[in-house]
């Protein structure tokens, strides 16, 4: 008998954003995110009272993935940021801080949400048009023929996460490794539809970061191989190693997908029959001069022994995740039948050797020409390794995104302050028809625009964690940090030397002013100027695609949350 429980009525909450609980949770979340932002950001220790491992991190994916957010409104926000991170890997904290800033700033305005959304949408389109225009002063084009901008881009990503615990030499070493790995994944012969390869990360924990290395081809861990002995590999006439890659089980246990019944007479053994089949296939492989047999699943010991005796290297249990890289490295077709072998399935390798890292032994598959490489990533502790792996993957992803759109944005908060000063300038000089089209008054527009700019500036201000003063200049609209405890000087130019992104210096008087949160920032007379960028000066760069999308997603999410007029919660 089924037990009937009385259905609980749904919980109806109107005007959720006006509730205190929501604003408290929002400011708490935004505080957590802001304090983690940037190279000087503070780490958050995630731990469970019951046990398990602890993790110190400042990455949005790790933070948001582990935080349990009870407020439904904030659940929408975190879900949105996590979706963004899964698409772009980068700019998660930026998106989250900006989104919180939009909500906090717009909510306090005495303007109807409908109007706020209309206006903010218009402001966003101004931003996007500016970012996409040639005249944009906060973006640089990435030249793939020189390494400097790429190095800057990768270094910015590696240094942005302090939990990796890297020193300067380690950062330089890893930067070159990440770039090298990326270059390996670019195909040499470009067809119409070029597909980038893959970099497989191999964990080696407990070693120094500088022991990390990149190798072309694939590394397969082989626990039982005997060291010291030269690998006896058969080569074909054209001096390559022939490869057979099996996706089907070679264990000979007669796994049968049939649905019906099989009646076996006494004395007949299907296992023996299967093994005979496997061995006859082994003979075929030997005859075809195959030098290496790889199997995704388990291989029968007898077959392994037979192959070994005939000078064929046999490796099993490669696993599903390695199948695609293996296919690409060797150019072979995974074989799914033990009954017939087609010569077209075989692949080839240039060489095969044994590599050892720490206490692990690997079979190194060296191809003729490939887009697959292996990054052996070392770090001292488990936590730092996890963080480092995510950072390296982010860097690789960012490089891929940058290939598609060879642009980068100035980092260090300069893009945010530049955009804010652009919007402040632009919104003060709009024609009256714009306000009419949007159905708002000029005052309303100004209020929303101010909130929009303050949200952007909040992100730049979040980079200061040690009491540095954050300044902006009146010419380029860049972001400048003054170390705390600097002596009171008559001129700002004595205190600032370079802006955060490194493009501008203090040689000309740029009329600096505080980037204050609440007080009104003076509006630039003209459009913020485009500085002449010398690549050598650049300190930090951000991914263009990730930041543009993050900006749009942050606003769309904030608008979605502002538009909520009630919450209906099913309590069953």
């Amino acid at each position: 008998m089924s037990r009937l429980e009385a259905k609980k009525p749904p919980l109806f909450t109107s005007k959720p954003l006006t509730r205190d609980a929501v604003s408290q949770s929002l400011s708490l979340l935004s505080g957590v995110l802001k304090s983690s932002y940037g190279p000087a950001g503070r780490l958050k220790q995630l731990h469970n009272g019951v046990g398990g491992c602890v993790c110190a991190t400042s990455q949005s994916s790790a933070l948001l993935g582990h935080l349990s957010v009870s407020q439904p409104v904030l659940r929408v926000l975190t879900a949105s940021v996590r979706n963004h991170v899964s698409r772009f890997s980068d700019c998660g904290l930026f998106t989250a801080i900006l989104c919180c800033g939009f909500i906090e700033n717009f909510r306090s305005l005495n303007v109807a949400p409908f109007t706020v959304i209309q206006i903010s949408k218009h402001l966003l389109s101004l931003c996007m048009d500016h970012l996409k225009s040639e005249a944009c002063g906060c973006r640089v084009s990435v030249d793939f023929s020189s390494l400097e901008t790429l190095v800057c881009l990768v270094r910015s990503i590696l240094t942005s996460k302090p939990a990796c615990m890297l020193n300067k030499t380690e950062v330089d070493h890893l930067t070159s490794l990440v770039l090298k790995a990326f270059v390996f994944t670019v195909p040499c012969h470009v067809e119409t539809n070029a597909v980038l390869g893959k970099c497989v990360v191999i964990p080696v924990k407990g070693r120094r970061v500088v022991d990390s290395a990149v190798l072309p081809g694939l590394l397969i861990e082989v626990p039982e191989i005997q060291l010291g002995k030269p690998l006896p590999v058969k080569r074909t006439g054209s001096n390559v190693i022939k490869i057979a890659l099996f996706s089907v089980s070679m264990s000979g246990d007669g796994s049968n997908p049939e649905e019906g019944t099989i009646v076996v007479h006494h004395g007949v053994s299907l296992e023996v029959s299967e093994l005979n089949q496997l061995l006859s296939m082994g003979q075929q492989l030997v005859k075809d001069e195959v030098g290496l047999v790889l199997c995704q699943k388990v291989m029968h010991p007898s077959l392994k022994q037979y192959l070994k005796e005939n000078g064929v290297v046999a490796v099993d249990r490669a696993g599903l995740s390695l199948m695609e890289p293996l296919r690409r490295v060797t150019g072979s077709q995974p074989i799914a039948s033990i009954h017939s072998l087609s010569p077209g399935c075989y692949g080839s390798l240039k060489d095969l050797c044994i590599e050892s890292f720490a206490s692990k032994h690997f079979l190194h598959l060296i191809p003729e020409d490939t887009v697959i490489c292996s990054l052996i990533l070392c770090n001292r502790s488990e936590t730092a390794w996890d963080e480092l792996k995510r950072v390296c993957e982010t860097a690789e992803h960012v490089l891929q995104l940058t290939v598609k759109e060879p642009l980068a944005l100035l980092g260090g908060g300069c893009t945010e302050t530049h955009l804010a000063s652009y919007i402040r300038h632009k919104s003060s000089s709009l024609p009256a028809s714009t306000f009419k089209d949007l159905g708002c008054s000029q005052t309303q527009y100004q209020l929303v625009a101010d909130g929009f700019c303050r949200s952007l500036e909040t992100v730049a201000r979040s980079l200061s964690h040690d009491g540095e003063e954050v300044l902006t200049d009146m010419v380029y609209g860049h972001c400048w940090l003054v170390p705390s405890g600097s002596p009171c000087a008559s001129k700002w130019s004595d205190l600032v030397s370079k802006c955060s992104c490194g493009v501008n210096d203090n040689t000309e008087d740029l009329s600096w002013s505080f980037l204050e949160g609440q007080s009104s920032t003076p509006i630039l007379q003209g459009c913020p100027k485009e500085p002449s960028v010398k690549v050598a000066d650049l300190r930090t760069l951000d991914c263009f695609a990730a930041k543009c999308s993050g900006l749009q997603v942050a606003l769309e999410t904030a608008n979605l949350i502002l538009d909520l007029s009630y919450i209906i919660e099913d309590q069953n």
């Binding site: 009525p9 749904p10 109806f12 109107s14 959720p16 439904p72 659940r75 929408v76 879900a79 949105s80 979706n83 963004h84 991170v85 899964s86 698409r87 109807a112 949400p113 409908f114 959304i117 209309q118 949408k121 996007m128 996706s247 089907v248 649905e259 019906g260 019944t261 099989i262 009646v263 076996v264 007479h265 007949v268 299907l270 023996v272 005979n276 089949q277 077709q333 995974p334 799914a336 039948s337 009954h339 017939s340 087609s342 077209g344 399935c345 999308s549 749009q552 997603v553 769309e556 999410t557 608008n559 979605l560 538009d563 909520l564 007029s565 009630y566 919450i567 209906i568 919660e569 099913d570």
Partner: protein, 652 residues
């Protein structure tokens, strides 16, 4: 054991329940309404403004409220629109009836009202203001609909995408209804949602997207043939209920080898028939995939039955079954595929196939982007229902009883106009037969793009019409040009070239029909639209009051007054959120113009289908009748099966 309670309640009780429901949905009504966040027990959060979802999420308990919600939902299911308006209007009607203190004859009066007043008001009054839907673009209809369903930042973008999708899927206007039906039915298969990207990244692609990767992919250029399969292609050794007896090891090996060879032979056969793509609804064995790769056949597995049905519908091809040993037979049932490629939807690899269509539907699919899944879900649902709503555009509203020409002589509103059309002049001279001293000129704004293609004979178009109304209605002498638009417009006053009002046009054929006393049985023609923003409600309000005057039955007069006033609750709610006195201003202006028999000025905010709106009024009236007719509520033990969900009688 069953619990019974006397009836659903008296009108005051019903009104209270309806008012509570209306209060819950009013916040989401209209273009400035807000969203609700529905939290499911699973933890999913779905932002929505869909009246049906809101009513379901509220899961009301009182029997009468449940009936109201069910009727609102079934109205929505039929027309794709109006669940929130339904509840608001219902509450207003019940409130009015309660205040009027209508007596026992109420149900009969409601029925009489529908036939005697409402249908006449629609046919004779409202009908003249209708205009045909603009033939080319659907955006003016889509945008206001989406304005009631989505947030302010999203509606324009989605309206553009939706209109683009209609246009590209059905390039021929004649095929629109069919294409819209298919879009409404199969939208789930015709879009792919990508969370984590801004809405602006959404785009329309030719062909369809199958949200899974190829099991085997052999890139090819140009056109190729595809085969649909619904069963495993690897021959089975045994089947359920079948025994396979193994005598010797050799026999077993031989049969295994035979199966492998047979699979290979099949793939060879496909290759020789130029089949390069297998679309399978079941998972195929690895060996099938292996041989498919070897013979250059791409494979997509695990297609849902909906996807298979869609592909069959587009290509007219039915699934293939490998028959017996006959491998020589040519495969004829193949679909023509124009392209077949792997598409990277941000991080997931999908199959992107272009089909050569055998019907009017040209397959296109929409990649919907949004920050979270819930938003994509909301957008997809809104677009799908927008397509259902657009189908209503091609429906007509018929009257229930034939009252043709009856009582026509009493009609006060037999407007009389004199038309004169000249090929050269574009001026409209308005004469007033009652006060002939008033002559004014005005510019005729020829809405020639909206003509119904009727050409008036410029000599014979002098129609004489009478006016017997008390207040002076101008009789018109119109001189106008070449193709006479199916509408005329008149702005009284001078120097109107500059103001250049947009006009709610009268339909030429209707005014003719009015004179000839020849009403067809259709009340509202297919494709009739009105501007959004409360025009329908105010027009119907005005004409109901007008026709109610002819009615002798006092009960019907009461009902007419109640319904006429209740209709205004919708524009009131729309304006309520915007400006306080906006509604009063708009209402007075409109009623004044109607009294003078002048066309209403129109905003540029878009159009709405009159059929949907009219159907809403009918549905609400039926619901009221139903609520009043129920005298006993019986509590039963087992929940009712779907029968309760059957469409209400007013669904067409």
């Amino acid at each position: 054991m069953c619990r019974t309670s006397a009836s659903l309640g008296s009108p005051p009780r019903l009104w209270q329940e309806a008012a509570a429901l209306a209060g819950a949905v009013r916040g989401a009504l209209g273009p400035r309404g807000g969203r609700a966040l529905l939290l499911r027990p699973t933890g999913e959060a779905l932002p929505t403004r869909d009246g049906r979802l809101l009513l379901e999420a509220l899961s009301v308990e009182p029997p009468a409220a449940r009936l109201m919600a069910a009727r609102a939902c079934s109205h929505r299911a039929a027309t794709g629109d109006g669940a929130k308006s339904f509840v608001v209007l219902l509450a207003a009607v019940l409130g009015g009836l309660q205040a009027a203190g209508a007596g026992a004859g109420l149900r009969r009066a409601l029925r009489d009202f529908e036939t005697q007043v409402l249908e006449r008001a629609a046919a004779r009054g409202l009908r003249r203001h209708l205009r045909p839907a603009p033939p080319g673009s659907l955006e003016p209809l889509l945008e206001p609909y989406l304005a009631g369903r989505l947030g302010p930042g999203e509606r324009r973008c989605l309206a553009r995408l939706g209109a683009e999708m209609c246009r590209r899927c059905g390039p021929a206007a004649a095929a629109r209804p069919r294409v819209l039906r298919l879009l409404g039915r199969r939208f789930a298969e015709l879009h792919a949602a990508v969370p984590g990207l801004p809405l602006a990244s959404s785009r329309l692609l030719p062909g369809i997207i199958l949200r899974r990767d190829f099991a085997a992919y052999c890139p090819t250029d140009g056109e190729l043939r595809a085969l649909l399969v619904t069963e495993p292609l690897r021959p089975a050794l045994t089947a359920p209920g079948v025994e396979f007896v193994v005598d010797s090891e050799g026999q077993y090996q031989a049969s295994q080898r035979w199966i492998t060879r047979r699979t290979e032979a099949l793939m060879k056969h496909l290759q020789s028939n130029n089949v390069k793509l297998l679309l399978s609804s079941v998972k195929q064995e690895e060996v099938v995939i292996y041989y498919a790769k070897l013979y250059g056949v791409s494979v997509v597995e695990c297609l849902s039955s909906e996807e298979m049905a869609l592909i069959s519908e587009i290509t007219g091809v039915s699934p293939y079954t490998p028959v017996g040993d006959n491998m020589d037979r040519e495969i004829t049932e193949t679909a023509v595929v124009t392209f077949c490629q792997s598409l990277l939807l941000v991080s997931k690899r999908c199959v992107h196939i272009g089909f050569a269509s055998v019907c009017a539907f040209q397959p296109h699919c929409l990649v919907l982007c949004g920050p979270v899944d819930g938003v994509n879900e909301q957008h997809a649902a809104a677009l799908q229902e927008a397509f259902i709503m657009l189908q209503q555009l091609f429906k007509t509203a018929d009257q229930r009883e034939d009252w043709k020409a009856e009582g026509e002589s009493q009609s006060k509103a037999s407007d009389v106009c004199t038309w004169h059309s000249s090929a050269t002049q574009k001026q409209l001279v308005i004469e007033n037969t009652c006060n002939t001293n008033q002559v004014s000129e005005c510019q005729l704004k020829a809405l020639s793009d909206e003509t119904e293609g009727k050409i008036f004979d410029s000599d014979k178009s002098d129609l004489l019409v009478h006016n017997q109304k008390k207040h002076s209605i101008p009789v018109l002498v119109a001189h106008y040009s070449d193709t006479v638009t199916a509408c005329e417009c008149l702005d009284v006053g001078k120097g109107l070239e500059k103001t250049c009002f947009h006009i709610v046009p009268f339909k030429q054929e209707e005014s003719c029909a009015g004179i000839a006393q020849d009403y067809s049985s259709c009340l509202i023609e297919a494709g009739s639209v009105l501007p959004v923003g409360g025009y329908f409600e105010i027009l119907l309000h005005y004409y109901i009051q007008d026709y109610a005057k002819q009615c002798q039955q006092s009960e019907v007069t009461i009902v007419s007054k109640v319904v006429a006033d209740a209709l205004l609750s919708i524009p009131k709610a729309l304006y309520g959120t915007a400006e306080r006195d906006g509604f009063t201003k708009f209402y007075l202006e409109a009623i004044n113009l109607l009294r003078k028999n002048q066309p209403l000025p129109v905003n540029n905010e878009g159009l709405e289908s009159v059929y949907c709106k009219y159907q809403l009024v009918i549905s609400v009236l039926h619901c009221v009748t139903e609520l009043l007719s129920i005298d006993l509520v019986i509590g039963i033990r087992r929940p009712l099966q779907k029968t309760e969900d059957r469409d209400s009688e007013d669904d067409t």
